[in-house]
């Protein structure tokens, strides 16, 4: 991707993972993962199914408790906090203000039966916005930003197409201006032209807002378009990490070479 965003100059990492591991009984889903994510940086986690990508994402976003290691996050007040030490109230507050989480299946991240406007406005109401007009204005300006016709603000997302749902989910997450967004296969299940449009949109939003993002994907094209850095996972371990162009153009590990060479030529 393009030059790193200027907030990369912030020398304090936003999120630090140290020797993260997760076991399910004797099964090791993820082991010894360490990295630091800086503000404005987009990190892609790639690997095939079952390589531990999704488990890692859940560990990083404090939805799962790690079996080993810990994750720390720099709060808005600049203090680095261990996520495991946060109370549940703080964690949930973080989750709906400073973080976003984009699910692969929009039905998981949206309330399918309530209108698009309310879906976007929910986070605002959750942090105490109490003025209908302002909530609605904010919702409609976000719909515009994700290229959804504002005339459809009162329609429920179940009447939306797959691509629109995904864009709505992004709007819903970004309305509180989070600093970090987790994305789990954000383009999965969309057709190619819709994928391209969504990727374009996400790329613009990420650079406009200076978002840091952790994107889990099995699609190397998504990683190449969105991310600054790539982590390649296999069997729960990180086997290769580096700048996106470097990893994808000049893979070092045999497994990464295999992944890169399995892309169908366009």
């Amino acid at each position: 991707m393009a030059e790193p965003h200027n907030t990369m100059q912030d020398d304090q990492p936003l999120l630090i993972a140290e020797h993260l591991g997760k076991n399910y009984g004797r099964l090791t889903a993820c082991r010894d993962v360490s990295f630091a994510l800086y503000p404005g940086e987009v990190l892609a986690i790639v690997g095939e199914s079952g390589s531990g990508k999704s488990t890692l994402l859940q560990l990083l976003s404090a939805q799962l408790a790690p079996s080993a290691g810990h994750v720390s996050y720099r709060m808005r007040d600049g203090v680095l906090r261990d996520l495991a030490a946060l109370g549940e109230a703080e964690r949930r507050f973080l989750f709906r203000t400073d973080w976003g989480y984009v699910h692969q299946d929009p039905a998981q991240g949206l309330r399918m039966a309530v209108s698009a406007g309310a879906n976007v406005g929910e986070r605002l109401m959750a942090v105490g916005w109490n003025h209908y007009g302002r909530i609605r204005d904010s919702a409609s300006s976000w719909l515009e930003r994700v290229e959804i016709d504002t005339a459809r603000i009162d329609d429920a997302p179940r009447t939306y197409s797959g691509g629109m749902r995904q864009r709505l989910q992004i709007a819903r997450n970004l309305v509180t201006e989070p600093r970090l967004v987790f994305m789990d296969e954000p383009t999965g299940g969309l057709d190619v032209s819709v994928q391209a449009r969504l990727l374009d949109l996400m790329r613009n939003l990420v650079s406009e807002l200076g978002l840091a993002a952790i994107v889990v994907t099995h699609d190397l094209a998504v990683a190449r378009l969105l991310s600054h850095r790539v982590m390649v996972m296999k069997g729960g371990r990180v086997i290769e990490t580096g700048l996106t162009d470097q990893v994808l153009d000049d893979p070092r590990e045999p497994y990464t070479q295999l992944l890169v060479s399995s892309i169908l030529p366009a």
Partner: protein, 294 residues
């Protein structure tokens, strides 16, 4: 010596003890839904099994009981519950709001102001105000625990987006004592302001859902709203056709198949006592005429 067929007020003493404990806890944490071991009652769920259990647990021999259903003292449900306690507890019953010490109600708060020492027992079908937006009980409990009530405003937002105003007209969510959001049972929102700072104790029983909650006397009860769409009461814009009252909650009664209708007080006791005091509405018959027809 003849053993009585039923214990006083139907329920056995251990059950009453269990229910009273739940009630005490509910009073200590206003608006919090306390789980309790709801019993089978000799009536179907939805007919007030929760309210009946609460009433049975608090009733004493000196109490005077009033039962209303949609404000009325003389509908099937009200009459049978009143008779039930008349038979199983032998307590005095009344229809006069002011004379009652315990009032069990479905869907209304009496028009006459309640006073200290009275207990209002509500029958509650669905105690969870967040239920229709969040189906998971584990999640709604957590939301209550953490005071995450953004979702409640999502419901009101949807109303305004769809109808242009907050169209929720009953079971209108309230915040109790600036902490818990509570479903005031399906009372019309007209009655919501009566809950605020009420001198009587208000108890809520949900039999099927096995929850008891309470508003202690003189507790703040605030109806949720938006700054630019404040809470408003709703009542039909008409006086009562029988007693002429301009301030009571009205029922609409269809009188023929040509669009004829009349509005009368939903609170029968209020309406009758006003008529006895000489107030007349547009449709009220003179007493002797009524007799001649009957």
């Amino acid at each position: 010596m003849n053993a009585p067929a039923y214990n006083f007020a139907y329920l056995d003493e251990q059950t009453k003890r269990m229910i009273r404990r739940a009630i005490l806890k509910a009073i200590a944490i206003p608006g919090y839904q306390v789980p309790f071991a709801s019993r089978e009652m000799p009536m179907p769920y939805g007919w007030g099994t929760g309210g009946v259990q609460v009433t049975a647990a608090i009733l004493g021999p000196d109490d005077v009981l009033k039962v209303i259903d949609q404000g009325s003292d003389d509908t099937t449900n009200a009459i049978s519950i009143r008779k039930f306690f008349g038979k199983t507890a032998g307590v005095a019953t009344t229809t006069a709001t002011a004379d009652a010490t315990v009032i069990q109600t479905r869907h209304r708060i009496p028009e006459a102001p309640l006073h200290a020492g009275q207990v209002l027992v509500y029958q509650v079908p669905i105690p969870e105000p967040l239920r229709f937006l969040e189906p998971r009980e584990t999640e709604t409990r957590r939301m209550h625990a953490l005071g995450e009530y953004g979702l409640m405003h999502v419901k009101l937002y949807e109303d305004i987006a769809r109808f242009g105003h907050i169209a929720t007209s009953y079971a209108y969510p309230v915040k109790v004592n600036a902490r818990y959001v509570m479903d005031p049972s399906p009372t019309p929102k007209f009655d919501n302001p009566k809950m605020d700072n009420c001198p009587a104790l208000q108890l809520f029983g949900a039999g099927r859902e096995k929850r008891i909650y309470a508003i202690p006397p003189h507790t703040d009860v605030v109806s949720l709203d938006f700054e630019d769409h404040p809470f408003t009461r709703y009542r039909f814009d008409a006086p009562c056709a029988l007693c002429g009252a301009g301030d009571s909650y009205l029922d609409e009664i269809v009188t023929d198949d040509k669009g004829g209708r009349m509005f009368v007080c939903s609170d029968t006791d209020y309406c009758e006592s006003r008529q006895q005091a000489g107030h007349r509405g547009s449709e009220s018959a003179a007493p002797h005429k009524e007799r001649a027809h009957g």
